[in-house]
């Protein structure tokens, strides 16, 4: 950021007449623009379409205890400048708050608008709305993220279940919702004609755990939330805990020892190694090539043991605290790390070579699940999905954090946008990560690893983005007293799932699982598919399990 501190950054000049006020937040990494409700759509349009910012997420906040109303924060990022732009919209109504919807200008805002509608009752006006996050039987008048709803609130149990309406097609035979190959409940309805997928509908959030609400509860404090954050994901836990602690540190101006920043970056790369190898294995499994699956996971096991050696947990858990990390990388550990890295690089090379040499695997990756560059940009997709569709986006380069400014690495970009490109992006990133770790080890400065002397002022903001293995993970934080006032998490898959629709349309049904998997959807959470045959015209709606007859053999 080479702009003058008192002037609105050059790129944002076109907005000058539309905004009320603006200020630097987050140690000068982000700009917050106060925008009146009636100007919001125009500001969003100019930012997204004319300035070319990417949409990151939006967050609704119940600010009634602070000044008597609600607020919505729309968070954009200008990659070229490494600058986050937060649009702050105040909503004066205490009851029935509303904001104009920006979804027509910014399609990527679709889900998060529905989310603040569900969670805070802030109505995005001018668009179709439906429940997204809350279950169908959740009482209409309880908006869980409002401050007057206690964190332990449990709604009464629903007496009867309602059938889910089955999309826009008039007929179908629903199957599911189980799928033993991939785990965690997400739910894709694939509308098929024969074996061709003609449309897709996604229904998710079955395992919404209310983590954002929990973090605001008196059960938690700044340090404890770190451990909650890493449990958002079973694979990129460290990414979430890093994004969270960085947000607290930046908002609260906490000094972090440089050595700790190096260790964090190193572990983020260990996690990327692990995640990409895991993905490679599962992709091979989905294509019926179990030898590739097993060998990819054999190599991955080395990274897990490395993670355990460095953090004490196979999943890099329990490392971060606000102000630094808990475990040092001592010089004795370095030779072993380097040895494992060599083995991983060599193993990956052989396994990846083996996997793509299998004719069926190649045939089913090449040209399937194509996401064109235009669609990718319109949906603000992130990570390897964006990079495989020709968008050169990598948070490590665009918004350098931790120690990434001190290392050099390449960002693989492919333009085909098919499943093969996404595979190759990930395989190449494995080698880049190995190089990054080597450089980090080489340049790691001596010193402390944890600063425990800190005090955090309430009412400060931070937006942090961390390049998770599956894309950009964004956390938005407003500090409170002793714990976050509001902590908003946008995991990468959240941004990538909407891209599945253009990817899957016109696909063979057989390639749907690999295409769904190709965005690496927080992986355990891939698919529950619902297959509806448009031609047969038979229909019976939903999820009741077929009645079973049990005959005992005595």
């Amino acid at each position: 950021m080479n702009q003058h501190k008192d002037l609105l950054p050059q790129r944002l000049r076109p907005l000058e007449s539309l905004i009320q006020e603006w200020r630097w937040i987050d140690k000068g990494r982000a700009v917050m623009l106060d925008v009146k409700r009636d100007k919001l759509v125009e500001v969003a349009r100019i930012l997204y379409k004319e300035i070319g910012a990417f949409f990151k997420t939006c967050a609704g906040v119940d600010e009634r205890p602070l000044w008597g109303g609600f607020a919505v924060y729309h968070i954009f990022g200008i990659d070229e400048e490494g600058l986050d732009v937060v649009i702050y919209v105040k909503i004066p109504e205490k009851d029935h708050p509303w904001v104009p919807s920006i979804v027509r200008e910014v399609p990527a805002a679709d889900w998060c608008e529905l989310e603040f509608r569900d969670m805070l009752g802030i109505d995005p006006r001018g668009r179709l709305t439906q429940r997204l996050v809350l279950p169908d039987d959740w009482p209409e008048d309880v908006k869980p993220l409002r401050k007057d709803v206690p964190y332990g609130y449990r709604p009464p149990r629903a007496e009867e279940s309602r059938p889910v309406e089955a999309g826009m097609y008039p007929s179908g035979v629903p199957v599911g919702p189980y799928h033993p190959a991939l785990h965690e409940p997400e739910y894709f309805e694939l509308y098929v004609e024969g074996e061709e997928v003609v449309d897709v509908r996604y229904r998710g959030f079955h395992v919404h755990r209310g983590i954002e609400k929990l973090a605001e509860s008196p059960r938690f404090d700044y340090n404890k939330v770190t451990f909650l954050a890493e449990r958002i994901c079973g694979i990129c836990g460290f990414v979430h805990s890093c994004a969270y602690v960085m947000a607290v540190e930046r908002a609260g101006k906490v000094e972090v020892p440089e050595r700790a920043e190096y260790i964090r970056a190193l572990l983020l790369e260990v996690e990327r190694l692990h995640s990409h190898l895991l993905w490679l294995g599962v992709a091979a499994h989905l294509l019926g090539y179990d030898a590739g699956f097993m060998h990819a996971w054999r190599v991955r096991e080395k990274t897990m043991i490395l993670a355990e050696y460095l953090t004490g947990s196979r999943k890099t858990y329990g490392m971060n605290l606000v102000g630094g990390v808990r475990k040092d990388i001592t010089p004795e550990k370095v030779p072993k790390i380097l040895r494992v890295l060599e083995e991983v690089a060599e193993g990956t090379k052989k396994v990846a070579d083996m996997i793509v040499s299998v004719p069926q695997v190649r045939k089913r990756l090449e040209g399937t699940g194509v996401l064109r560059r235009g669609d990718a940009a319109a949906l603000s997709v992130v990570g390897p999905v964006a990079r495989a569709s020709g968008l050169n986006r990598d948070i490590r380069k665009d918004y350098p954090y931790l120690a990434y400014k001190d290392v050099s690495f390449m960002v693989p970009v492919y333009s085909e946008g098919d499943n093969l490109s996404r595979t190759l992006v990930r395989v190449e990133e494995v080698f880049e990560s190995v190089e990054i770790i080597k450089q980090l080890l080489d340049r790691m400065p001596p010193g402390d690893i944890l600063n425990e002397e800190w005090d955090i002022e309430p009412g400060k903001y931070a937006v942090t983005s961390v390049e998770a293995p599956r894309g950009e993970d964004t956390h938005f934080l407003i500090t409170g007293v002793g714990r976050p006032y509001r902590w908003r998490v946008r995991a990468p898959t959240y941004a990538n799932i909407p891209a599945l629709r253009p990817m899957l349309r016109g696909q063979e049904l057989a390639d749907a699982p690999i295409t769904i998997a190709s965005i690496d959807p927080c992986f355990s959470c891939t698919d529950r598919m619902l297959v509806i045959d448009v031609r047969t015209g038979k229909r019976s709606v939903l999820v009741t399990r077929p009645k079973v007859r049990v005959v005992s053999l005595g």
Partner: protein, 304 residues
């Protein structure tokens, strides 16, 4: 003579039922080794699995009770088809044994598809549909290939082929190539396990089966595999028997040894490949079958 023949036919059926699960464990062991894993602890593992399934209660999903009949039909047809195989003694069925073999192996495939369709599960129906497409292409080639093998030995009979007629090596090699591909495809192994396709269809044809029914489902799959391997083995055994004169029991042992070898080769191929897609598989197969068939019959016709 017909007594020996009957005894050997029954013996082959018995051996198939006993050995197919053991060969499956060999398959798993080999696959594990290629995956750098230890794999199942004993050669009886698949038998233990089947025994465990047989001890569970029978659960039939509503509208799916019709699966039982085709399930047993699959097993029965596969066994009947096997009974036509033992070479070394002219079958009492000869020269109809070829027809008999074709009929019952087709019946085994057809009733397996029926299992899928009658289970009333959409995944199973999709699996059954894929299986149907594949089997329709494959069975035609199988009939042509089997006939060509028999013809290249001069007689339209499989078990009798070891005795009569003159053996013509060049057409034999071509038609054996055709036949062995067909038989690999019908063993429902990767890349052609489209009806099962576990990560895609959650287990396809067998999805609604559990407990003892699943055990029978597994046995039927294994018997179909055994059938494929032993027909391939029989086709290899024919010329060998002719030259070394291995008849009777020694012919039977040769058939078994070759069946095991073919099974292992099949597992090796399956472990090294990925799953195909139904339309790709069909296209690939047709482009292989047509030239091979044309070549085999041209060679036969022109008496090479």
């Amino acid at each position: 003579m017909s007594f020996i023949n009957l005894a050997l036919s029954l013996a082959l059926i018995g051996v198939a039922v006993a050995v197919a699960p053991i060969l499956d464990t060999v398959d798993r062991k080999l696959r594990a080794r290629l995956h750098s894993r230890i794999g199942p602890p004993t050669l009886l593992q698949t038998w233990y699995d089947i025994a465990k399934l047989l001890g569970k209660e029978i659960v039939v999903s509503e509208g799916g009770s019709a699966v039982v009949v085709p399930l047993f039909m699959t097993v029965a047809s596969a066994l009947l088809a096997l009974s036509a195989l033992p070479p070394g003694v002219p079958s009492p069925l000869a020269p109809l044994d070829l027809l008999y073999l074709i009929m019952f192996s087709a019946a085994a495939h057809a009733s397996f598809i029926l299992v899928a369709v009658s289970s009333g599960n959409v995944y199973a129906v999709i699996g059954g549909f894929r299986e149907f497409v594949l089997v329709s292409v494959n069975e035609v080639a199988f009939v042509l290939g089997l006939t060509a093998v028999a013809l290249s030995t001069g007689v339209l009979s499989f078990s009798g082929a070891a005795y009569y007629g003159d053996f013509r090596p060049i057409p034999y090699i071509v038609s054996f190539a055709l036949l062995s591909i067909c038989l690999y495809v019908s063993s429902a192994r990767i890349p052609f396990d489209l009806g099962e396709a576990e990560p895609e269809l959650a287990s396809g044809v067998l999805i609604e089966l559990s407990g003892p029914l699943l055990a029978i489902g597994i046995i039927s799959v294994l018997l179909k595999r055994f059938l494929s391997a032993s027909i391939t083995a029989a086709a290899i055994a024919l010329p060998i028997m002719r030259y070394i004169g291995a008849y009777g029991l020694s012919g039977f042992s040769l058939l078994l040894a070759l069946t095991i070898t073919v099974w292992i080769i099949h597992s090796l191929i399956a472990a090294s490949l990925g799953r195909s897609r139904v339309e790709v598989a069909v296209k690939t197969l047709i482009s292989l079958y047509i030239p091979l068939t044309l070549l085999a019959y041209t060679l036969l016709l022109f008496g090479v």
